[in-house]
């Protein structure tokens, strides 16, 4: 089996914005059209700052590539599906733009792309093409802080598996039964 997953190291991330901007550049052609759903740029990564706690905290949110994805369960046409590589994808030939998936996602990880009249999310077309060639998604490649990784959980020798084995990490909204595969590392 292959179970592709993302790792984001919250204890290392310096919030430089490289992944956010690079996703826009690579997957959305450096688009300067608005992302109305998120009031944000056209990128698959959101930046959430927790400004009221005891210390500054940051979350970068994106598709969790859940093993039990609600977006797939609610999709009326089968457009949203979980691929054999473990990634949650959208087949745009089947998508009717109804946005049930957007509502169903507890992470609010999808946004509506008016240019395509369809929901979009991680990973974008260019990143899918990159991983098909054996390359890493752009967010991982550009990160200057070593705060990102991507790879196969079922391969114990993969970088992501090794990092997870030696880190403390959390999964977001794990209690919702979504079985997310976006691992938030909080320390060694």
């Amino acid at each position: 089996m292959t179970r592709l997953a993302f790792l984001w190291d919250q204890s290392r991330c310096i919030s430089c914005g490289a992944c956010i901007a690079a996703c826009n550049a690579a997957n959305y052609g450096s688009s300067t059209a608005p992302n109305v759903s998120w009031n944000w740029l056209r990128t698959n990564i959101r930046r959430i700052e927790l400004s009221n706690g005891p210390r500054p905290m940051l979350y970068l949110l994106q598709c969790q590539h859940c093993e039990n994805p609600p977006c797939v369960a609610v999709c009326p046409t089968g457009a949203s599906y979980r691929d054999r590589d473990g990634l949650v994808k959208i087949n745009y030939d089947l998508c009717i733009g109804c946005r049930y998936c957007m509502v169903a996602c507890p992470y609010d990880a999808r946004w509506f792309n008016e240019s395509m009249w369809a929901p979009v999310k991680c990973m974008g077309e260019e990143c899918q093409a990159r991983i098909a060639k054996g390359e890493q998604p752009v967010c991982v490649v550009v990160c200057p802080a070593g705060a990102r990784d991507f790879g196969d959980l079922d391969d114990p020798s993969s970088s992501i598996s090794r990092r997870l084995a030696e880190s403390r990490y959390v999964k977001l909204l794990d209690n919702m039964g979504t079985r997310p595969k976006y691992f938030v590392v909080v320390g060694p």
Partner: protein, 756 residues
């Protein structure tokens, strides 16, 4: 990377300074930006109105060149001045020398001026790249008022140290981006860094945690100082020679510095001289006495940092042999010269200079200068020599230890002293967002005979320019330089990958400048082989190749390497590694360029210019202390999501907030909510402007923070979907305009009153 018509930028992981942040990631937006300056512009309204007509390149260049020549003929060529950021900083001395003016005055007075003066004074070193922490190998790092740059590679190098368990301490009134990661953030009262650092020195000396062998062998800490503050020398004793003296515990008497078997560190005593007995103390003891003014239980009252935190950080730093970062963009409170001297002294106290994981000297790349002034001539990279310049830079006449002080240039415009400046050429920089004293800048821009701007975007000063020439952005030109942000010696090269987008008739700024020279003084341009042929812009790449070839010649000779191999590596890989960092050279095997050749705990350079030879803390002179409940410090700074050009991008609309940060406790006390609009009033200059409040724990109570360069853009040329550039405030509006004597560093922080 290209994907059909789409393009995006990835970092080169093998590069000596591999990096990335939002800014280069968004560069394609910058390239095709609708606000890019597209054609040469000629002013038709009043200065400041931003009314222009588009003119062709020939007309604009001929008119501007004629006016430059008129200024030079009437007032002398020194009346022409340039200001720049880093773009073309290698070429501008050559252009200025051709015109006959020394006045290339950079941005440093509001940037790294004070840290560079401190590096000069304590380590005999130059600008920020000359000395840097060994980020990849350090064990404990203290960042004082510094947000680390990701695009330049430091963050990627630091990631390796963090992997190995390095601790990072951030001392800053606001949490820079890096404070989102696992660091210890110490939110200090603005302008009190020196008190915090001197308190650390107090703990380290008091608890004997310093490296005595290093201090004795490689610093001037054992130097004996007379009561008047000057060092004791052989001539004081009526002896031959002028060597500085130390007390040799082994010989139980004074010996010249560097020749004692056991120079005493902590010593005072009387020395007999022909004119009587003199009571001397070692520089180390004077430092200990100075630091004793700031024990942690007193420093807490100044800095707001708990005494036990200061003590703990001092112990951790000394026992883990840490490194304190030596300063970069840091002109904030006017008292930074003392901050950076304290920092360098701390690094020396723990003996962590030029060691693996310490504060290290960069391996010099021996990169040539475009021109090198000599006694009777100026040698140029192109071979030909130019006549020497007669005048001295206006800013250095006023601030002798400055790198640059733009404020002194404004003085010269307004007062004619030390001599008049009549023409200003502004290259790739943003004086209104960069410099303190907005009113003075406007008045100077009104008074100048000629203002020329070369840029890619409508920064505020564009509206005040007589001629505006559109420049290339970095993807549109090739560029070679030494690699600044690595300890290794390396040369880096960026290939031109794009032409300007359709409708943008931008040209290489170097061509624009050389054309101004050629059209005004054809004989001078001809001296460096720049002839009429290059008036045809399509021929200019040949001239660039000529210059590039001269640089390759120079480097291949200096390093004894193959020119072809060097060129091939630069053009294919983007870099050539000349020499890996080897530790333990300075000050161990070779002397520093300080007066004593040693690390100067006690600065003879400062003494020479009438400054205190030891660092001290003074209340920040750059603004009045906030007192009333609605009065705040207004702190400013950058981060990886801010630069003068990046802020124009659409991505920046979201990635760079243009609000004023306020601590939740202050917000609750004043009844201000997140997103509320308040009025800010400069306590020192009365300037008022409205600003949106962001309530966040990223700033210390009593302090407001807003990004420099991001908010309050005012050019009439900003329109369309980019109105967000007008939102927020430009923090320089509120700055008092303070400039520190001798050093020339300005204070960009200020004090403001908040009105609901």
């Amino acid at each position: 990377m290209r994907n059909g018509d789409a393009m995006y930028i990835l970092p080169n992981p093998s590069h000596p300074q591999p990096g990335m942040c939002a800014r280069p990631a968004a560069a394609v937006q910058m390239w095709g930006h609708p606000l890019r300056l597209r054609k040469p512009l000629k002013r038709v309204g009043q200065r400041g109105e931003g009314k222009f007509q588009e003119v062709d390149w020939d007309t604009a260049l001929n008119e501007a060149a004629a006016k430059l020549k008129e200024v030079a003929d009437r007032y002398g060529p020194q009346a022409i001045a340039f200001t720049r950021h880093d773009h073309l900083s290698w070429h501008l001395p050559l252009i200025a020398s051709l015109m006959g003016t020394p006045n290339v005055i950079g941005h440093e007075g509001t940037c790294h001026d004070a840290s560079t003066a401190a590096r000069q004074a304590v380590l005999g070193a130059g600008g920020p790249p000359a000395v840097d922490p060994d980020y990849a190998n350090l064990n404990y790092l203290i960042l004082v008022g510094r947000n680390l740059d990701a695009a330049m590679g430091s963050v990627r190098a630091l990631a390796r140290a963090r992997e190995a368990g390095a601790k990072i301490v951030v001392v800053d009134p606001r949490a820079p981006n890096i404070a989102f990661s696992s660091v210890e953030w110490i939110p200090i009262v603005p302008g009190t860094d020196a008190a915090f650092l001197l308190s650390m020195i107090n703990v380290i000396i008091g608890e004997g945690l310093y490296d005595a062998a290093f201090l004795k062998g490689y610093t001037n800490a054992p130097m004996l100082i007379k009561p008047d503050g000057s060092p004791l020398t052989q001539s004081d004793l009526g002896q031959q020679g002028s060597a500085y003296l130390v007390f040799d515990a082994a010989a139980n008497g004074v010996k010249p510095l560097g020749s004692a078997a056991d120079p005493a560190l902590d010593y005072e005593g009387d020395v007999e001289t022909p004119s009587g007995s003199v009571h001397v103390k070692t520089a180390f003891r004077l430092l200990a006495e100075r630091a004793a003014k700031y024990p942690p239980d007193k420093a807490v009252q100044i800095t707001g940092v708990p005494a036990d935190t200061i003590t703990r950080i001092a112990r951790e730093f000394a026992t883990r042999r840490g490194v304190v970062e030596d300063g970069w963009y840091a002109a904030k409170n006017g008292n930074e010269f003392d901050v950076y001297r304290s920092i360098l002294i701390l690094n020396a106290l723990v003996g962590n200079i030029d060691k693996r994981g310490g504060l290290c000297f960069q391996e010099p790349a021996k990169f040539p200068n475009s021109c090198t002034p000599g006694a009777d001539r100026i040698d140029t990279i192109l071979g030909a020599s130019l006549p020497p310049l007669k005048a001295k830079r206006v800013d250095l006449l006023k601030y002798p230890l400055a790198v640059s002080s733009f404020d002194a240039l404004l003085d010269a415009v307004l007062t004619g002293q030390p001599y008049p400046i009549k023409a200003l050429i502004i290259v790739g920089t943003a004086p209104f967002h960069r410099d303190v004293n907005t009113g003075k800048l406007k008045e100077a821009l009104r008074r100048l005979d000629l203002v020329i701007t070369i840029d890619i975007f409508p920064q505020d000063h564009v509206d005040w320019s007589d001629y505006v020439f559109p420049d290339l952005m970095f993807l549109e030109r090739s560029e070679v330089s030494s690699a600044p942000w690595t300890l290794d010696a390396a040369v880096v090269y960026s290939n031109k990958v794009l032409d300007p987008p359709p409708g943008v008739d931008a040209r290489h700024a170097l061509w624009t400048l050389l054309e101004l020279v050629r059209r005004a003084w054809p004989d001078k341009a001809a001296l460096i082989g720049y002839t009429d042929k290059y008036a045809d812009y399509s021929q200019f790449e040949q001239y660039e190749d000529l210059m590039f070839g001269k640089i390759l010649d120079y480097l291949s000779k200096a390093w004894n390497i193959s020119r072809e191999e060097l060129e091939a590596a630069l053009k294919t890989r983007g870099f050539y590694l000349l020499k890996k960092k080897s530790y333990g050279a300075k000050p161990y095997k070779s002397k520093l360029s300080t007066p004593t050749g040693l690390v100067e705990i006690y600065s003879l350079t400062a003494l020479k210019y009438g400054l205190d030879p030891l660092p001290d803390w003074t209340p920040p002179p750059a603004y009045s202390q906030p007192k009333a409940p609605n009065e705040f410090y207004l702190v400013t700074g950058k981060d990886q999501n801010v630069s003068g050009h990046f802020v124009f991008t659409y991505d920046s609309k979201y990635l760079t907030d243009r609000c004023v940060w306020m601590n939740p406790a202050d917000a609750e006390r004043l009844g201000v909510g997140d997103g509320d609009i308040v009025t800010l009033e400069g306590i020192d200059n009365g300037f008022t402007a409205k600003a949106c409040v962001k309530v966040t724990n990223r700033v210390r109570p009593g302090v407001l923070f807003t990004y420099a360069f991001a908010g309050g853009h005012a050019s009439a040329l900003v329109d369309g979907g980019y109105d967000f550039l007008r939102s927020g405030v430009n923090p320089q509006w509120f700055a008092k305009g303070y400039v520190a004597p001798v050093i020339g560093t300005a204070g960009t922080n200020s004090a403001v009153r908040v009105r609901l």
